[in-house]
Symmetry: C2
Subunit: 256 residues, 2 copies
């Protein structure tokens, strides 16, 4: 049987040819980035020589593009074995941060893919957490949070409409909620109580996160308070189980 370590993923051949006037190396990098995001963690990529042949480029040109992916943590190269896709596990720690801050610290570009928001009467459970009466208006925001364009979490959050009038008009799809709250309303959030459990994504949720149906995810129930101790936000968000891990300090004296 002829030796065949792998096959180039089923991509249209024209993807490999650059004709948009940009440098060939830049085009190669972009295609490889797309390839990586479309692959599973640990998957073997085509060899440098195969890619060079496909791109009609020198192996060094492909290597230089791959160098950049490696420095971004998107691939891992092993001499003698090959190049493997790497989806870095994102550690959710105890340090209080917004999603946007979190991603930026990892050298990623935070964003959102879909954004739904409306002001509605508070359901009983939401009201209980926010410390308001059931039925009073609250803002509900739901969006798929992305890092470098890749869906990472389904964020659902609630805030008092009385406390933050016109919030939905101020919020952009990609905006950091905490930054808007800070800038527009002077609300500073620094602590939150979180409860983490395992949930299975419904088909609709899985589709939005672009993962298989019923995939396990972290369900993070979060109540964030401002510096005055008032509850500002109550959220129930889903974080992909294949891309996140939880890190926490366990000790007798909980230093909070």
């Amino acid at each position: 049987m002829s030796r065949q370590r792998h096959e180039v993923r089923n991509l249209a051949p024209e993807i490999f040819t650059a004709d948009d006037g940009r440098p060939k190396g830049r085009h190669i990098k972009d295609v490889l980035t797309t390839l990586v995001h479309a692959s599973r963690d640990g998957e073997l990529l085509p060899s440098e020589r195969v890619l060079a042949e496909r791109f009609g480029a020198a192996r060094m040109t492909v290597r230089n593009a791959m160098d950049e992916l490696e420095s971004q943590g998107l691939v891992r190269r092993v001499a003698g074995r090959g190049t493997f896709v790497q989806h870095p596990t994102l550690v959710h720690s105890e340090i209080f941060r917004s999603f946007s801050e979190d991603m930026r610290m990892r050298g990623m570009v935070p964003g959102a893919k879909s954004y739904r928001s409306r002001t509605r009467p508070a359901p009983r459970d939401v009201a209980a957490h926010l410390g308001v009466a059931p039925g009073v208006p609250v803002h509900f925001i739901e969006r798929v949070r992305t890092a470098d364009g890749v869906p990472m979490a389904l964020e659902r959050t609630n805030l008092s409409a009385e406390r933050f009038p016109a919030l939905l008009a101020e919020m952009g799809r990609d905006d950091s909620l905490y930054e808007v709250l800070g800038k527009m309303y002077g609300a500073r959030l620094e602590t939150a109580e979180q409860t983490v459990s395992i949930a299975r994504l419904s088909p609709a949720e899985a589709r939005r996160l672009e993962v298989p149906d019923y995939e396990p995810a972290f369900l993070v129930e979060r109540t964030a308070v401002d510096t005055m101790g008032n509850v500002v936000e109550y959220g129930r968000s889903l974080y992909r189980g294949d891309r996140y891990a939880i890190q926490m300090h366990v000790s007798r004296s909980a230093s909070r």
Copy 2:
């Protein structure tokens, strides 16, 4: 007059030859890093072709090493002009962080170059800031803080010996004070009051920061409190004026 854009800095010729068994590119990168740290911001580096000649290497090999310096922000390359040393200005913002946290967020390795500490009777001014009686024992720590081995600040700080017994025994030279306080004493610092003024480095201070005598520096007088509102630390540190800038949000409603 013969064309002479620049001369290779007065380095011993043997620095350019690698004989430690490591890959030539790695050696070149290390030498270039040293060269950059020994140069002033904005200084023109030798061209790639000159360096290749000096290293006895291919221009591509030098370029690849320079690529890495560029991605670290240490150099800036301009087609047609040259490669310039870049010492990124470190912005000191209002966000409360330890030096270690700050440097790590910038992708740098925090450390210390010299470390002096002792427990002494509190001078009057230190006592006033710490809220203790003059003469009671306080810990005094003085060290040169480094980022990637380069001196950035001369850190001087005082803490109550009563509140933090045996602190000096717990502290390592490169340790983050705030992390030790958190871990060993459960003290969490999140806010501080700072007064920033301009100071001129004394020759002794300048020597420790490896900058010219009388160079201007930021004198940051800082009083940090824990979450209970107790003063934990009073410090008077010097930050290099050529590497730092201060960023602050100015508004009528000071959102703290």
